[in-house]
């Protein structure tokens, strides 16, 4: 098996981020010091300015810009909050500390910066992402929800106190949390030749127990529902830096389908960000046609499921690959859905022994 060692640019990247933040500070400082009300321009995130880029295969922001100016009394507070957020992010990044959105909300109070609520502070962080074109994880602000990874990949930590230490991701059978330490780690080596992303914890554990990582030479990623951004970024890195193909297994319903889609093409909410998508990843199941072909036990689609299907049908992301439209139509026809666990009707190992190899082959 080919051994890969990819030196990613994690440290370089951190340096760029710091410089970017400092430049933002200098721009505002200079404007103030020469007697002008400082202002910051950034792409507009309003829905009219979000469009799908079929080349990048993700949503991006259009040319419309908004300007936040300290001259405008209504902008003054969010402007100040933005400058504070940039300052706070720089502190985090340079001191190599991590924090969460909740932390940010509370930390603001130490600087006599008041956010009305969590939503307001979340919005400001999104503004900062838009201004910088970077995602908050780059500023060491991580989400609460965490997903996990398991498989033969050795990583090298860059977080303080662990610099240079390595860890093989098969070390713990529950998987390793995809947290700040892992996402900032360099990839040292791997024998895997693919990545399998799984929506549900139960199946992830089953796969580990059934030795899927060995049998299929795969790195297993648990998305735990809708994949957090850090996980999406992590999957992208596995795909880009290690050139591993990515296969995604979800429940057989519109929601599972969309979990796969967000990993592949991103979300409108993150249209201001890059590097969160894995356009070449494959949705391998459970498809609507699998429900028919494998005669899975089902539940009927309810009203919200159907409504969601109609939305997805019109979504530009779903027009990329004929597979999506075909599966949406099948869902609409059979009006049924099935969970990943449904395979258990054929015995606990059926999914690993029969279904998985067939689908990996089919979506290769």
């Amino acid at each position: 098996m080919e051994q890969k060692k990819h030196k990613s640019s994690m440290t370089e990247r951190k340096k760029d981020i710091l410089t970017g933040l400092e430049n933002l500070g200098s721009r505002i400082y200079e404007q103030l010091d020469s007697g002008y009300f400082p202002s910051i321009a950034m792409p507009s995130r309003s829905t009219e300015n979000i469009c799908y880029d079929s080349l990048l295969r993700q949503f991006i922001l259009g040319d419309r810009k908004v300007r936040r100016s300290a001259r405008n009394i209504r902008h003054l507070k969010p402007f100040t909050q933005l400058v504070w957020a940039a300052f706070f992010s720089r502190e985090l990044t340079s001191q190599r500390k991590t924090s969460t959105l909740r932390d940010v909300y509370y930390s603001a109070q130490a600087y006599e910066m008041t956010f009305t609520d969590q939503q307001e502070s979340n919005n400001i962080i999104t503004d900062l992402e838009t201004v910088m074109g970077l995602s908050r994880e780059d500023f060491n602000i991580f989400p609460e929800e965490r997903s996990a990874v398991f498989g033969d990949l050795t990583i090298e930590y860059t977080v303080p106190g662990y610099e240079g230490r390595t860890l093989n991701l098969t070390s713990h059978p529950d998987g390793v949390l995809i947290g700040p330490a892992l996402t900032s780690a360099e990839f040292a080596k791997t024998t895997a030749d693919k990545v399998i992303a799984i929506e549900k914890g139960g199946l992830f554990t089953r796969f580990v127990e059934e030795n899927v990582h060995n049998k299929f030479n795969a790195i297993l990623v648990l998305t735990a529902g809708q994949a957090p951004r850090a996980t999406r970024h992590f999957i992208r890195r596995l795909n880009r830096e290690l050139s591993l193909p990515v296969y995604i297994f979800t429940d057989g319903d519109p929601w599972g389908m969309h979990i796969a889609m967000v990993i592949i093409s991103g979300s409108a909410n993150a249209a201001h960000l890059r590097d969160l998508t894995t356009p070449d990843a494959k949705w391998s199941g459970v498809w609507a046609s699998d429900i028919v072909d494998y005669k899975l036990p089902t539940d009927p689609l309810d009203e919200v499921d159907i409504k969601r299907l109609y939305e997805l049908q019109k979504d530009p992301r779903y027009k990329e690959d004929p597979l999506w439209q075909k599966e949406i139509k099948t869902f609409m026809k059979i009006k049924k859905k099935a969970e990943q666990e449904a395979f258990s009707r054929y015995g606990l190992t059926y999914i690993v022994d029969e279904y998985l190899p067939e689908k990996l082959e089919e979506t290769r």
Binding site: L21, E22, L24, G25, S26, I28, Y29, L32, D33, G35, Y36, F37, P38, A70, I73, L76, K77, F79, T80, V83, W84, A86, F87, R90, Y111, E112, M113
Partner: protein
Amino acid sequence: MAQTTFEEISASDFFYRNRDIAGFTNPSRAIFAAIRELVENSLDAAESLRIPPDIYVRLSYEGGASKETQIFRLRVEDNGIGVLPRHIPSAFGQVLFGSKYKLKQQRGTFGLGGKMAILYGQITTHQPACIISSTGMAKIYIYKLMIDIQRNRPLILDRKVLINKEQWKGTIVEFCLEGDYFRAMPKILDYFKQTAMVNPYANLTFVDPKGRLYRFTRVTREMPEPPKETSPHPYGVDVELLQRLIQITPYKNMLEFLRNHFHRVGEITARKFLEFSNISPSKNPKKLSHEEIVKLMHMLKRFKEFLPPDASCLSPLGEELLKAGVLKELKPEFVSVNRRKPATYAGHPFIIEVGIAYGGEIPKKGSFMIYRFANRIPLLYDEASDVSVRVINAMNWRRYKVTPDMPTAILVHICSTKVPYKTVGKEFIADRPEVRREIANGLRETARQLQRFLTRREHVDRERKRFGVFSRYLPKIAQFSTRLAGKERLPDIEKLLKSVKKFGTEET
């Protein structure tokens, strides 16, 4: 068959039987009315000399009468003109005896108020009243008297004369009466406060039965111009008045009669009128028949060329004093007052003064606080029936951006030689179109001023807030950007802050 008996009753007997029409309806109302009548007499007595009034009122507990009512001793002292000794018994012991029947603006009019208080005291406690008075001459006179109700005559029980060493001038009235102070208290205190409001040149002191002292101190010694006595205006006379004038007149012809007994009637107007009404200028007024007198009255009312009454017989408070009074008693943030030009209704001159006070210590009640006054007397009862309240309710306040939930007080003062009271109780003003119009116009003017104030204040507030926002956030932007950029020195933001302030004032 029962026989119908006829009898004559005296004036005091009449009012004794009908005391409620003068405001002595029940024990709580009676105690209020007694204080009010005596205080008003005292204010009149001081003002007629243009002396800033100093009035001391003491109500003290004498003993229990029944479960609700008690006996109180009321004492009112003033620094007024005093009463000549020969008039004291009648002034305080004979109903419908008084010095204020003349045509000029005064609080008293009927020759009744003070006596009703004393009468009420007498019938509830059977004790005499004590009057001490001096006009500032050598002696002070002390009378103990009761009223002979059947004969409407004073009964003098005792009389003393003291040497007036200090040249004291004034009057002290003291008597006992039954009442319910506990229930009357809020109205009494309101009465003092509001009296102080329209008499800002007066010192009022009230000691209540619990020994609590309420002091309303004057803020000025300025007093309004005193009213001049006037003769009746031709539009305002009736047959009764004509007959009385004819009886007393020394003039032997109609021309002179009209010229000398009527307000604003000169030689030319008199001649024109006589021609208009086909009366010979040389006719002796005493020779007019009853029919002719009735006709004369009708003609007087019909003739269009009489000049309107002038207002020299009126004594409005004036805008300065009204403002001072409102500021002193209500302590508002803003007050605007408006004194209307003199107007007339049915031949009687009147002047309306209004004021609007806003904010400060004025409470928010959800409705306007309304203060009504007539000839510098507060009107405290029957608010809903008063013309002012009707005008206030009918007004489109939204036009002036004023709403009843704002802390707003409205004040309406009517001065007239004949205040159009609806009742003898002197508690509310009748709805006369002329009066209504003047009140409405005055309120509009003051409301406009209040609106201007509110708009200006809103603007200043907005600018202050605006500046507050900038001075709160700009330093923070400076601080964070300095640290973010890794700089040492804070940028200079003074210029920016100054520009915000300048921008603010330019907008006005």
